[in-house]
Amino acid sequence: MKRHPSRSVLRQMQDEPGAVAEQERDHVAACATCQRRSEVMATAASAAASVLDEGTLDGSAVDPLPALRRLRSTEPGVVAPKPTLVDRLRRRIEFAHRRALRAGAVLAVIAATMGTLVATGVASDIIKIFQPETFVAVTIDITSLGTFPDLTGYGSVKVLQTPHVTTATSLAGAASASGLHLLVPGKLPSEVKGQPEFDVMSAGSASFTFSRTAASGTADKLGTTLPALPGGLDGSSLTLNAGPVVVETVGSQRSLDPFSLPSTPTSTSGPAEPKGSHGLLGGLGGIPQLVIVQMKAPVLYSDGPSVVQYEDALLSMPGIPPSLASQLKALGDPSSTLPIPIPTSLASAHSADINGAPGLVIGDTTGIASGVIWQSHGLVFAVAGSLTDRQVVAIARSMR
């Protein structure tokens, strides 16, 4: 074997020689260059081990049982209580939530995909469905969305509680209006200038009822046939409770209207901006310098079909791009993951740690536009703007 193994392989060979191919081990045994490289690595490893040795746990073994007792005293839910009738009922509902959340992940992609259309100005009326734990990018070829139907192609959408948007000019005002304990970013990049302004959306609720008739009509329009549906899906409903939401805007482009909802300015100063004309980020050329979103994590409820039934049925619906369906099926834990559609030709995504919480960063180093979204303790946060990906992550991490 003439080619030298990579330095990564050389390093692993020192710790896990069995994990390295025999061919490469033989090469190293006979190669002076590789042996020199290995020695340099071993020296650095030895120095590191010497420094880190203080972090070795001392002689007494770590006993998890006292620690578990300590945790139980902090968190009563860790102890298995005798469930009351009310408890059992509540848990059944919670289990239904979890099943629904998985289905919600599927629906969320559909809704969020249309959110992409909002950002590009194609659609204007959409319900966004969020998922409260982690966020994962799924790539979408936007050219495949030309015939992608909205939710009304599969059933009916009904607003149960209409959220209202008010404006505020101070953090305290926004906190008071929303009931949220709002976090504040640390030092902002020098290019972000201006006084922050706040949009506050009250809690809202909407339901989606699946309809075989509507789905068949969509299939006909797309020139396909409706796949077999599981029993109970036709007529079943998903209900989403969302909000309150606070959107803080810093910079010249003020008119952020993330939910395309009516704006009803109240006691705060200044007139309301025109609504609905700028899409999610204000439209091209209208990206604010900085936007910070803080919201209570939404919850999605189901009144019937199981998660598996929803997932299988929805992913087999006509109009769902096969590549999107396969990405969704490959998600590790749809019950706790919100897929975010990323148009392959417009943006890229990667993960980042936000003070211990996994965040999804969308954007790049150009500074044209970037954003990061993460969840912590039942709240969903997002930071976005005409900044680089590093800048939005730094702002996110500075929020206290």
């Binding site: 896990e16 650095a44 420094v51 203080e54 001392d58 770590v62 860790v78 919670e94 834990d333």
Partner: protein, 186 residues
């Protein structure tokens, strides 16, 4: 941020019971706790060089996991290990907390078997600060790979906890060790 967020949750009256688990899941959680606790403490201790503080970090990590994740989630061990590294690193980077703790140490206020010997206290504080200082200076990814690997995780486990490929672990580890060596020698 996490503390504020937790306060925010409380302020919003979101009861912990909203995310409590049924009895069977409690058992799954406790099994996970027993299986992973020592590992989580070990990772945190690699960063903190302080057993008591590492156990505090482990409590926070498991509490956070319990409140927001299913104990049956396939990513549970990787999540816990990653969180242990992050939270421990956040602690060594929190200057006020560190200074307060060092003051307590200096005053001999901690319940520590070494506390009866001032010279040993000084030596131990020096060694502890050497580890913490090194971890502070390193990029988070470098500090993480060292904490994970030197607490005994395999390359595959390190890769899973860091969200990188197994083939990248050697590279990240090698660079972190070289960087640490430079930091110590400078």
């Amino acid at each position: 941020m996490l503390d504020r967020a937790m306060e925010a949750q409380i302020a919003m009256s979101v009861p912990v019971s909203d995310v409590s688990m049924p009895p069977s899941m409690v058992q799954v959680f406790e099994s996970l706790f027993v299986a992973e606790y020592a590992r989580v403490v070990g990772i945190a201790n690699r960063v903190l060089a302080d057993r008591a503080e590492a156990e505090d970090v482990a409590q926070e990590v498991f509490l956070d996991f319990h409140r927001h994740h299913s104990p049956a989630a396939p990513y549970a061990p990787a999540w816990l290990r990653r969180a242990a590294w992050h939270r421990a690193l956040n602690r060594v980077r929190g200057r006020r907390r560190r200074e307060r703790r060092e003051q307590l140490d200096a005053a001999g206020a901690r319940d520590d078997a070494w506390s009866s010997d001032p010279q040993r206290i000084a030596e131990r504080n020096y060694d502890r600060e050497r580890v913490r200082s090194a971890m502070r200076k390193l990029p988070p990814r470098a500090a993480g790979v060292l904490a994970l690997r030197y607490s005994g995780l395999s390359y595959a486990e390190v890769a899973e906890a860091m969200g990188i490929g197994v083939g990248q672990v050697g590279t990240v580890l090698r660079r972190a060790e070289a960087r640490l060596k430079r930091e110590v020698e400078s």
